[in-house]
C-alpha cells in the first residue's frame, strides 16, 4: 500500500513538473518562476539530505550554493564560455570547500555546529564581497551569459527560457534519483540511524564522525550544483547568494515541506518561492508576511505540509 502510494505521488510530482509550460501562464506564473522552484527545490533537498535524514542542522549551506554560482559565472566570464565546464568548476569548488570545512567541524553538534556553519558561511560571503577585482564584489558578477551546450551532434540552446527549464529539470531528476538511491542504500540507512540515536549508533561501532562528514560533503555537492543552475538562470550572481539569510531560506523550505519526507523540500520550495513572488508584488510589507509565515510554520506545522498529509493518510 505504502509502495503504491509512494509511486503514485512520485508520478504525480513528475507529471506536474514536466507539463509546467502548459499550465504556468494560465495560473499567472512565468517560466523563470518555475525554473527557480526547481533549482531552489534541489538546494532544499540537498540540505535536507543532511538535515532531515542525518539529523544535523547546517545553517551555512548558502556558502557552497554561492561557490557553485561563482564557479560557473567566473568560468564562463574569465576562462571559457562553456556551460558544462562552468558547472564542473562550480561543483568541484563547492564540494572541496565542504570537504575541508566539514572535517573541521564534524565533531560539533547541535547549536554549536549551526553557529559554526553560519560563521564559515559568512567567511565565504565576505570573500566574495571584498575580492572586488575578481568577483565584482557587491556589484556582483555580471556581463556573462549561459552558453548553449554543444553535444557534437546537436546543440542544446539553453539560452531559451523554456529549454533551460527542462535542462534544470533533467539535472534535478538525476540528482533526486542519486539522492534517493543513497538514502535507500545501507549508507543512507546508517545516516538515519545516526539521526535517530547517535549514541546507539556509536555503540554499534558506526564511525559517526566519518558518516556525518560524508553526508555533509554529499549534501554540499548537490547544493553547489543547485548554485550553478541558479547563476545560470539569472546570468548573474552576487554575494547575497552566499549570505546566511539564503541559508535560512533553504532550511525553511525543508521544514515547510516536511523534513522527514523525500519530496517535502521540493514542495516547501514551491510554496516559498511562489508565495514570496506573489506577496512581494502586492505589498511592500512582504517581509512581515514571510516572517509571520516562518513563525507560523515553526509553531503550528513543524512536520511540514507532507508531514500533515502523511498523518492524515495514516489516521
Amino acid at each position: 500500500m505504502t509502495a503504491l502510494r509512494g509511486r503514485t505521488s512520485t508520478i504525480a510530482v513528475w507529471i506536474v513538473l514536466l507539463s509546467m509550460p502548459l499550465w504556468m501562464g494560465a495560473l499567472g506564473g512565468y517560466t523563470e518562476l518555475a525554473s527557480r522552484v526547481v533549482v531552489l527545490g534541489l538546494a532544499a533537498m540537498a540540505l535536507n539530505f543532511l538535515l532531515g535524514f542525518t539529523g544535523v542542522l547546517s545553517f551555512g549551506h548558502a556558502a557552497y550554493f554561492g561557490l557553485g554560482a561563482y564557479g560557473v559565472g567566473m568560468t564562463i566570464k574569465y576562462l571559457q564560455p562553456s556551460t558544462p565546464l562552468g558547472i564542473l568548476v562550480g561543483v568541484v569548488t563547492g564540494t572541496l570547500a565542504a570537504a575541508v570545512i566539514g572535517a573541521l567541524i564534524a565533531k560539533r553538534r547541535g547549536v554549536y555546529f549551526a553557529m559554526v556553519t553560519i560563521a564559515f558561511g559568512q567567511v565565504f560571503y565576505f570573500i566574495a564581497f571584498r575580492w572586488n577585482s575578481v568577483t565584482g564584489g557587491d556589484d556582483g558578477l555580471n556581463n556573462w551569459r549561459r552558453q548553449a551546450i554543444d553535444f557534437g551532434i546537436a546543440k542544446l540552446d539553453i539560452t531559451n527560457d523554456v529549454t533551460f527549464y527542462y535542462f534544470a529539470l533533467i539535472v534535478f531528476a538525476l540528482s533526486a534519483a542519486a539522492m534517493g538511491l543513497l538514502i535507500k542504500s545501507p549508507f543512507g540507512r546508517t545516516l538515519i540511524a545516526i539521526r535517530e540515536n547517535e549514541r546507539r549508533a556509536r555503540f554499534l561501532g558506526i564511525p559517526v564522525e566519518q558518516h556525518i562528514w560524508l553526508s555533509f560533503v554529499i549534501s554540499c555537492f548537490f547544493v553547489s550544483l543547485a548554485g550553478t543552475l541558479f547563476a545560470l538562470l539569472s546570468n548573474f550572481t552576487d554575494p547575497r547568494a552566499l549570505r546566511w539569510d539564503q541559508s535560512g531560506n533553504f532550511v525553511i523550505m525543508a521544514v515547510l515541506g516536511g523534513m522527514r519526507s523525500f519530496w517535502g523540500p521540493l514542495i516547501g520550495a514551491a510554496i516559498f518561492v511562489v508565495l514570496q513572488d506573489y506577496v512581494s508584488s502586492h505589498t511592500e510589507n512582504w517581509m512581515s508576511f514571510i516572517g509571520l509565515f516562518f513563525m507560523a510554520v515553526v509553531l503550528f506545522f513543524p512536520r511540514g505540509i507532507l508531514g500533515i498529509v502523511k498523518r492524515r493518510l495514516a489516521s
Binding site: G25, L27, G28, G29, Y30, T31, E32, L33, R36, F129, R130, N132, G136, G137, D138, D139, G140, N142, N143, R145, D161, F230, L233, S234, N235, F236, T237, D238, R240, A241, V274, D277, Y278, S280, S281, H282, E284, W286, M287, F300, F301, P302, I308, R312
Partner: protein, 420 residues
C-alpha cells in the same frame, strides 16, 4: 526529537489548513483574471528596492514615477492609451530577485518599459535582461559608469549622472573651499572606485594631490579607525565618498570627533535623504547634488515640488526627480516616435531634450547621442543645518552645465551597436 503534543488542536489545525488552501487558491487566481474589455493599458515596470538599505531612496523614485504616470494619463496617456505602473520590490541587493522580477514584468506582465535600479549592480543585471528581451530600459538611480559606458546598449538610457560627471562638477569647489591635499574615504565597490578615480583625475588637473585614502567595506558602522588615519595624514580636505547610511555614520562620527573644526569635510555625491538623517550639527560639507528642490525662478520646479508635497507632505529629493523624469521619458519617447517599438523609441531619444516641466532645471537636459546618458545640470554647494525651510538643508552655490562636466564620448568607452 521530542515534540510538543498538539493533538488537542488537531481539528482546528485541519480547518486552518483547509481554509488556507482555499484562500490561497482564490487569491492566486484572483488578479490574473484579465478583463479583456476596453483598450489594454500600456504598462511600465518599475523594479526598484522597497526594502533593505536602499528602501528610502527606492521609494522616493517610485513616488516620482507615480506622479509622472498620473500626469501622463491626465494628458492623454501614451498613444491614446492609459498608462499603468507596475511596481516590484527588487530588494536592496538580491540580484536573483531583481532579475526574476524584471523577467516577470517583461514575460508575464508584458511591460513595454523597464525602469530601475537604485543599486548599480542591479541596474547592470537588469540592463542585461532588457537587452536580451529588447525592451526599453531607463536606469533611474544606478550611477556606475558602465551602464552608459563599457557595457552600454542601444535600449538602455540613464537619468542620473555618471560618477565621472559628478567628480568633474564638484572638484573645482573642493579645491577652492578646502585646499589641494585630499584624503579619501571610499566605499569599496564599483561606484566608490569609479567616483574616486574620477575625482583623482579632476583633482590632479586642478593642481591638487591625493595624500592618502582608505577603502571601507559597504555597511561599515564604525569609521573611527579610518578617521584616525585620515587626520594623522594631515590633509586639507577629507573626501567622503560613502553613501546612504554609511555617509550618515561617517559624518556623524567625524563631527563628534571635532574633525570638522580642523579639516574641510566634503565629498561628491550627496543627497537629501542622508542629510535628513543627520543631527543638525553634522549637516556640513561641500557636495554636489544631482537635483535640488529649492530653485527659485526656474520653470517647472514649483509645480513639481507642489505636486509632490501634496502627494507625500515632503519635498521631492533628487531621487523623486529621477523617477519622475524616467516615467516621463517613456511617454515622450513613445509619443514622439509614434510607436512602441524599442528601436524606434531609442532612435527618437537620441539627443532628445526634456521639456521644462519635466526637466525642472535651468538648462535643458538631453540624452547624449551614442551614449544614451542624460546630460543635466549639477548643483554644487554646501550642506546647512537649516535654510529657508525645514527641508532646505543644502545651499546651492554653483549650477554646473552637464556638458562641461561630462567627458567626451570616447572617454566613456561606450560603443553602441544597433540591431539590424
Amino acid at each position: 526529537m521530542s515534540e510538543h503534543d498538539l493533538l488537542g488542536k488537531k481539528v482546528s489545525r485541519r480547518q486552518l489548513i483547509q481554509g488556507a488552501a482555499a484562500g490561497a487558491t482564490l487569491a492566486a487566481t484572483g488578479p490574473f483574471i484579465i478583463s479583456a474589455r476596453g483598450e489594454e493599458p500600456v504598462k511600465i515596470g518599475l523594479d526598484n528596492p522597497l526594502t533593505g538599505t536602499y528602501a528610502a531612496v527606492g521609494k522616493n523614485e517610485m513616488i516620482g514615477c507615480e506622479l509622472a504616470v498620473e500626469q501622463i494619463n491626465a494628458k492623454g496617456g501614451i498613444l491614446g492609451r492609459q498608462v499603468q505602473l507596475l511596481s516590484e520590490d527588487s530588494t536592496s541587493g538580491d540580484a536573483g530577485t531583481c532579475v526574476q522580477k524584471a523577467r516577470k514584468l517583461i514575460d508575464r506582465d508584458g511591460v513595454k518599459f523597464l525602469l530601475g535600479n537604485v543599486n548599480s549592480a542591479l541596474s547592470l543585471a537588469m540592463a542585461d535582461v532588457a537587452y536580451e528581451k529588447g525592451v526599453l530600459h531607463v536606469v533611474t538611480g544606478g550611477h556606475t559608469d558602465a551602464v552608459t559606458g563599457k557595457t552600454c546598449h542601444y535600449n538602455v538610457f540613464r537619468i542620473c549622472n555618471t560618477t565621472q560627471m559628478e567628480a568633474n562638477a564638484v572638484a573645482p569647489s573642493l579645491i577652492k573651499q578646502g585646499g589641494k591635499k585630499w584624503y579619501y574615504i571610499t566605499p569599496d565597490y564599483a561606484f566608490g572606485h569609479t567616483l574616486q578615480s574620477g575625482l583623482e583625475a579632476a583633482c590632479t588637473r586642478l593642481g591638487g594631490q591625493k595624500i592618502g585614502g582608505d577603502l571601507t567595506p559597504l555597511g561599515t558602522t564604525d569609521f573611527s579607525s579610518y578617521l584616525i588615519k585620515a587626520q594623522a595624514a594631515k590633509p586639507d580636505v577629507i573626501v567622503f565618498l560613502v553613501q546612504g547610511d554609511d555617509m550618515v555614520n561617517a559624518l556623524k562620527q567625524a563631527v563628534q570627533f571635532g574633525l570638522d573644526k580642523r579639516f574641510h569635510l566634503a565629498g561628491a555625491q550627496q543627497e537629501l535623504e542622508p542629510l535628513e538623517g543627520l543631527p543638525p550639527e553634522a549637516r556640513i560639507g561641500t557636495w554636489v547634488f544631482e537635483w535640488y528642490w529649492n530653485q527659485p525662478g526656474v520653470p517647472g520646479v514649483k509645480e513639481f515640488v507642489d505636486a509632490i508635497k501634496k502627494k507625500t507632505g515632503r519635498v521631492p529629493t533628487a531621487r523623486t526627480w529621477f523617477g519622475f523624469a524616467s516615467g516621463w521619458t517613456c511617454a515622450l519617447a513613445a509619443n514622439g516616435a509614434k510607436s512602441l517599438e524599442t528601436v524606434k523609441m531609442a532612435k527618437f531619444l537620441q539627443d532628445f531634450k526634456l521639456p521644462p516641466e519635466v526637466a525642472c532645471m535651468p538648462d535643458a537636459p538631453y540624452f547624449r547621442k551614442g551614449q544614451n546618458q542624460l546630460i543635466p545640470n549639477l548643483f554644487v554647494g554646501h550642506a546647512q543645518a537649516k535654510g529657508s525651510a525645514p527641508d532646505d538643508l543644502f545651499k546651492v552655490t554653483t549650477v554646473v552645465k552637464g556638458a562641461e562636466a561630462a567627458g567626451t564620448l570616447e572617454e566613456t568607452g561606450c560603443k553602441m551597436t544597433w540591431p539590424a
